[in-house]
Symmetry: D2
Subunit: 161 residues, 4 copies
């Protein structure tokens, strides 16, 4: 079994950039996380986009669809900002069949002393191996299907609708 | 769905105790980890044992078997030291049927700046929701069944036999 | 000996706020840092401002001057954003005599897994006990006097002029 | 000004070694800490010993004395286990004159998510630049002279006698 990882940006990869006094989307953190976990399942990481998910355009989503469609692999773990994660999952659900696509991300950057990034990556790394074909959002210790979930911005979590 | 968490000790819960210049098994870290991940699935944590897994006795394993058997829940996530994790999984496999039992732990304490604890807990938290009844070891990004794995001490990881 | 700590904001106290997808200045981190260091010198923390130092106004600086002048204490450790730290130090130098005033901060938030915050607070905590009256900036392992230093934004550090 | 750093081991450099289920003294952490703090004062690190300070022998202390005496530098920062830090400081006080020697260490390993190591290194890095010649212990936010301090093992801190 091989897992293709696609990174698109989002909070999970944000870091504080002193020169501009702002948080920016940086390099994918997932490689570092998987090395620390000493993961022995075969995987490959491809950095597709470096964007806050509110800034993802239709073209960006086409790029994600194309990357999944054109990569000869059955299982995809996609890191993504949380604000439009469900929208991208819905697009993938509509456009791709026969592949397992699990989207995850974080509410706090992976570089923070306390972050949900490590837990979420671990959770999604299991989900992508166990679930049947389809597109899923794996957040807050749950598997959501795109049409049956929403992000509760107040509470900072995903919930079933 | 409800997840019953049993903690038995192991490296995941070790901390450095200056008074004795040694690492000791402390309170379960998993509660803190699940709060940081803002997990919304219902779970309950029961601290069963506080031992390095090399020190677990037959009585200790009976205690774990009894805790699983006598708790009216179908899904158990058990944190455990890595050295005899497979042995406890084998005992549970033999003695309990009809329940999902996922054992996990860590090679580095959860209190370390870099640790596999968060990833492993996330991974196991998904596994316990997805797998069919049986006993499993969830380590290094893989699901192992007790009879088909070994701990490679040199490499610090679990491998298929 | 007693040390009066004044916090004014800056990167050291920034955290990532998911609801607004931005970094904000939060509560002072220095109390947590001093507890982790198990410091036994008497100190008191007063949260004066919560601002990025680029946003500090003349009124804000008057507030800092007044807080130092009106507190019956000889030694002040002031946490401050780095962009105008030298300017505030110069103001304090001009306006206050007979007191030790050490300004410090961080290039990375204290909540990051790697940050200069802990080192800088430790360094400044020593400086405020050892230096003669005057205003100083304690950054990058050095003591600077306000007229003889500049922030090198490119390199992310303070340098002698 | 140049600072010569000598490392001798102790809790600050301990890490958890899964293969032996124990904490061991590892490579000096201070280099990593000083890089994270982006320190611009010139310094050099020499790893002299890798021991828990309870295991330091008279020969080991002679080695430390010789390293200080024979290095043409005036300022020494020495990382050391806390249990016999005062004893080594007393030996240096007796045997060396005309040099500033500041000993520090940590109650929790530098690799822990919460540790006094960073604060203590920052504090000592200032102390070694500011203090007059002599041997000192810099712990818990204070400067101690060897004859006037003790380690309170119960409370996990240094105190004046």
């Amino acid at each position: 079994m091989k897992i293709q990882i696609l990174t698109t940006g989002g909070t999970i990869d944000k870091f504080y950039f002193d020169r501009k006094d702002t948080f920016q989307v940086g390099e994918p953190q997932i490689g570092q996380l998987l090395r620390e976990a000493n993961v022995t399942v075969e995987y490959e990481i491809r950095a597709l986009l470096h964007k806050d998910s509110l800034e993802l355009t239709d073209e960006d989503r086409e790029l994600i669809v194309a990357a999944v469609r054109d990569t000869p692999c059955e299982r995809f773990l996609i890191t993504h900002g949380t604000d439009t994660m469900l929208q991208t999952a819905a697009t993938l659900q509509q456009r791709i069949s026969g592949k397992v696509m699990v989207l995850t991300g974080a509410m706090q950057p992976a570089i923070s002393r306390t972050s949900d990034a490590f837990f979420n990556i671990g959770f999604a790394f299991c989900a992508v191996q166990q679930l049947p074909p389809g597109a899923y959002v794996a957040m807050n210790g749950r598997i959501f299907t795109p049409g049956a979930a929403r992000k509760n911005v107040e509470m900072g979590r995903f919930e079933p609708t």
